[in-house]
Amino acid sequence: MTRHDIIDRVIKELQGDLPAVSRPYQVVAERIGLSEEEVISVLDGLREKGMLKRVGAVLRHQKVGYDANAMVVWKVAEEDMDRVGNLMADSPQVSHCYWRETPAGWPYNLFTMIHARSREELKAVILELSRMSGIDEYRVIESVKELKKTSVQYR
C-alpha cells in the first residue's frame, strides 16, 4: 500500500463505527493490515492537518433530552455580519452558525441551528439572541420530520 492508500483506508474505517473495546485502533489496524502504531500516526497526521476534528461520539439529540430544535435564519447587513455571527456562535445552544450566499428573494443570510430542552427554552434563546444582537428580522423554521441523516462518505 502507498501512503495515500493507507490514509484512504484509515479514513474509510474511521467514518464507520469504532468498536467499544479496550484497543479500538488495534481492531481497525487488523482490518486494514497495519500496525496499531501506524493507524494512530495516520490519525495524528489527519488531526494536525485539520482534516480530523476528533474521534468521538455523535449523539441523537432528541434522545438525550434536546428535543426542541429549530433553524433560525437572520437578516444581517454584510458589514455587521462578523459581529453578529461571532456573538451568536458564542451561545452554547447554537450548534451551527453560518453566513450563506442566498438567492434573490431570500433575505435571510445568517443561518443558525438552535437546540433546547423545551419549547419555552427554545423561544427564550431565540428572543435573547435577537435582543443581544439587535437583529429583529428573522424567521424560525422548525423541522417537521427528519427525512434523512447520515454522515458524509469521504472515501
Binding site: 479514513i11 463505527d17 467499544a20 480530523l52 474521534v55 450548534s95 453560518y98 438567492p103 423541522s143 441523516k149
Partner: protein, 149 residues
C-alpha cells in the same frame, strides 16, 4: 440516563484520545473503570443515544464542496421527491420543515462539478426549482450537547 452515562456522553462528545488505550485514558480522567465505560458505551449505542462513535472529519478541509438546498414541494409529492433527493449518498441531511420552502437538505460532494450536476439532476427529475445556499463564512460548528441529569 444516570450520572455515569452523562459523564461518559459529555466526554465522548469532546473526543477520545489517539492513544492505544483511549478508554483507559478516559477511565482515569472520569474516575470510572474502563470495563464500566465499555459496557456503558455499548448500552448507550443499543438504546440509540449514540448515533455513531468514530472519526469526525472537517469536510471543507477534506476538500469537499457542500451547500444547503431548499425546495418548495407540493404536499402530495413529498414522499416521491424525498426518495429522489435521498437516493444520492451526497445528500447527508434532509428535513421537512414548516415553511413555504418545506424540504431542506445538504449536499456534500467531492467537487464543485459533482455538486452542480446533482442539483441539476434533482431539478430535472422533479421539475421543482432547487435553491442553493453555499457557506460564505463559518462562525461555528460545534455539535455538542451539554448534558446534566
Amino acid at each position: 440516563m444516570d450520572q455515569i452515562d452523562v459523564k461518559i456522553l459529555n466526554y465522548l462528545q469532546e473526543g477520545i484520545t489517539l492513544s492505544p488505550r483511549p478508554f483507559l485514558d478516559m477511565a482515569r480522567e472520569l474516575g470510572i473503570s474502563e470495563e464500566t465505560i465499555l459496557a456503558r458505551i455499548e448500552a448507550l449505542r443499543n438504546r440509540g443515544l449514540i448515533r455513531r462513535l468514530g472519526g469526525v472529519f472537517d469536510s471543507p478541509q477534506m476538500g469537499m464542496k457542500s451547500t444547503l438546498c431548499a425546495m418548495e414541494v407540493p404536499e402530495a409529492r413529498i414522499q416521491e421527491v424525498a426518495e429522489k433527493v435521498n437516493a444520492y449518498h451526497e445528500v447527508t441531511h434532509n428535513y421537512l420543515r414548516d415553511d413555504p420552502y418545506n424540504m431542506w437538505f445538504t449536499v456534500t460532494a467531492s467537487s464543485r462539478e459533482d455538486l452542480e450536476r446533482i442539483l441539476q439532476e434533482i431539478e430535472s427529475d422533479t421539475g421543482i426549482k432547487v435553491i442553493s445556499m453555499p457557506v460564505r463564512q463559518r462562525y461555528k460548528i460545534k455539535v455538542a450537547f451539554a448534558l446534566n441529569d
